[in-house]
């Protein structure tokens, strides 16, 4: 495994102002290597989700510096960050958040159509490839909201992968799944990080899930405890 940092957080500090000023992240610095499968754990309120959204570039209200793939992202505009996310970051959320009015294939293709680096036919072929890998090729033309929870989560993963992002971020990606689907999702993540070299950062409550990943960052009251 190589040691180039895929993501670097330097002195990340963040405050909440509602209902009163409260320091939720306290001067966090760490690196994530390329191809690493990282779990963020901790009790609720420990700041792990907050940290994930800072790392995801969606939350820009923090102090410190964030670099992904050597590129400094702190201080960029929202639209620059949106374009960056589109190309370099894939998201998997706890509640699958597919677009219910589109079919499965369109959902998967959407980020690539936005990126516009490939032709529609290429994107379609690739989306089918991902769906096949995740055992969903026969669901491709169904409306997204007609699928089961586990299937929807796999569609969300296929969508996160469509632009070959360097980092995949998950916010409790297995939080809503039964143990069988949890292990399917875990295996997908594992193989992505080990054979594709994609970096994975997930927030999870699931101790088994965390234990089996490459590295755990455990948080408590806004500081890293392990």
């Amino acid at each position: 495994m190589n040691t180039t940092p895929a993501l670097k957080a330097i002195h990340i500090t963040k405050y909440f102002y509602e209902p009163e000023r409260f320091q939720v992240l306290k001067d966090l610095s760490f690196e994530v290597r390329k191809g690493e499968f990282l779990s963020l754990t901790g009790k609720s309120g420990s700041g792990k989700s907050t940290l994930l959204y800072v790392l995801s570039t969606m939350d820009t209200d923090y102090e410190g510096e964030l670099l992904i793939g050597g590129e400094k992202l702190t201080g960029k505009t929202q639209n620059q960050l949106a374009a960056f996310r589109n190309e370099h970051i894939g998201f998997v959320f706890q509640f699958h958040y597919l677009l219910p009015e589109f079919n499965v294939l369109d959902n998967v293709m959407l980020p690539a159509l936005k990126l516009k680096k490939k032709s529609r036919a290429e994107i379609k072929e690739k989306a089918y490839g991902h769906l096949k890998l995740l055992g969903l090729e026969d669901q491709a033309l169904k409306p997204a909201n007609k699928l089961s929870g586990g299937q929807q989560q796999r569609v969300a993963i296929a969508r996160a992968l469509i632009n070959d992002p360097s980092i995949i971020m998950g916010d409790e990606p297995t939080g809503n799944l039964d143990s069988r689907n949890t292990s399917i999702v875990f295996d997908i993540f594992r193989s992505l990080s080990h054979s594709q070299g994609q970096t994975i950062i997930t927030v999870t409550h699931d101790e088994d899930f965390a234990r089996n990943s490459d590295r755990i960052i455990d948080m408590s009251d806004g500081v890293i405890t392990g």
Partner: protein, 412 residues
């Protein structure tokens, strides 16, 4: 990227078809009412204009009477105070003397479509004991008809008979009933100079302008000259029509300095007509813009609802890398589609409503049904206003959508 945004917009529009239809209907009603109100008001204005121009020419040249020359001393010596009582103006020419020259000058003007000479005088029409004062108008039969289309208002007799019957008189319907006379009866005309002559009624007209119908009679211009013992060049009024009745100012500017008589456009003599027509336009504009505004609020509401419903999807789109501009485009495109479809149907519906109302009977003042005008520019303006309204009504919610912070939505 654009096509992706438009595809999302299209899916949003078609997945909640009911909402889309309601929004489209809002625009449709707004625009159809705009079209209808403006067509109706323009129709009313056109009718008003037509009625007014049955007895009114676009430009009139006449002798305005003598200038006020009662105190010549003050004119020559302005500093001298003088007082002259019971002044008599001796030199006073009646009517237009060199009408032939003026006629040919006027006919040469490019925008003039018709000109007719008249000899008008105030007379008494008498039928035994009945005396009614009115205006006797000596006219050139053909050119008069070309300008004022009088033959269309004849309810008895023929207009062209005036040409051949030198003692034939055509009188207004009101005047006929005041004098209790009918076609082929005789009446007596008494001029202010005391001449009297009997004429035979050969026709009756009804313009529905009450004042005209009750007081006016037409006679061949040569017969009037004869009655007044005037020569063949004598004329009191020259009535001129131009191509566009609104564009009289230039002609007046050109003619007035070279003609030694008063040259007056209809706007100068009838400002109340112009005012009425403008006021109706303003009312139509106010009503239809109000309707469009209400329709705009409808669209605003529906777009706002849509955005609240789709707030999670918007957050996801932004997380996936769609920029604020993309989100604005997605929702603004929906508003534009709603505006376009609503506009097109609205123009059609507006035309249908206008056509139906146009067929409603309305038998007052010579009308048979409610007036209506069909002008392309009313429809184009309606469409553009509708589109502008939807753009504004769609832009505000779209901007709100583009400002959604995905972190707040996704974290709950």
């Amino acid at each position: 990227m654009l096509s992706t945004n438009y595809k999302i917009a299209l899916v949003h529009l078609t997945s909640k078809l009911k909402q889309t239809v309601v929004a489209v209907l809002g625009v449709t009603f707004g625009i159809s009412m705009y079209v209808f109100m403006n067509s109706f008001m323009t129709g009313v204005n056109d009718i008003q204009t037509t009625l007014a121009f049955t007895s009114l020419a676009h430009v009139r040249i006449y002798n305005d009477g003598p200038a006020n020359n009662t105190n010549l001393v003050e004119k020559v010596y302005p500093t001298v105070v003088s007082n002259i009582r019971n002044a008599r103006v001796v030199q006073y020419t009646e009517g237009i003397q060199n009408s032939g020259a003026i006629l040919s000058l006027v006919r040469k003007q490019p925008e003039v479509t018709g000109v007719t000479p008249q000899v008008n005088l105030n007379v008494f029409f008498r039928n035994s004991g009945n005396k009614v004062s009115g205006v006797l108008s000596g006219v050139e039969v053909e050119t008069e008809n070309k300008l004022f289309n009088i033959s269309q208002y004849m309810i008895a007799g023929k207009w062209n008979d005036l040409k051949v019957q030198s003692n034939g008189l055509i009188i207004g319907s009101g005047l006929a009933s005041l004098l209790s006379v009918h076609v082929d009866d005789n009446i007596n005309v008494l001029t202010s100079d005391g001449f009297t002559k009997n004429y035979k009624i050969i026709g009756i007209f009804q313009t529905n302008v009450l004042g005209v119908d009750k007081s006016k009679a037409y006679l061949n211009i040569n017969a009037v000259r004869q009655l007044l013992s005037r020569n063949q060049d004598f004329v009191t009024d020259l009535q001129i029509n131009v191509q566009d009745f609104r564009e009289t100012a230039l002609l007046v500017q050109r003619i007035a300095p070279v003609v030694p008589y008063r040259t007056e456009s209809w706007q100068m003599s009838n400002q109340q007509l112009e005012a009425g027509s403008r006021l109706r336009d303003i009312i139509a504009m106010a009503v239809s813009l109000t309707i469009l505004l209400v329709a705009g609020f409808g669209i605003y509401n529906i777009m706002n609802m849509t955005i609240n419903e789709k707030i999670k999807e918007i957050a996801i789109l932004k997380a996936m890398g769609f920029s604020s501009k993309d989100v604005t485009t997605i929702f603004l495109a929906q508003a534009i589609v709603i505006g376009m479809i609503g506009g097109l149907i609205g123009m059609l519906l507006g035309f249908i409503v206008a056509d139906v109302v146009n067929h409603i009977p309305f038998k007052i003042g010579g009308l048979n049904n409610l007036p209506m005008a069909y002008y392309a520019h009313d429809y184009i303006f309606a469409f553009l206003f509708g589109l502008a309204t939807t753009l504004v009504a769609g832009y505000l919610p779209a901007r709100k959508a583009s400002r959604i912070d995905p972190v707040n939505i996704i974290r709950g």
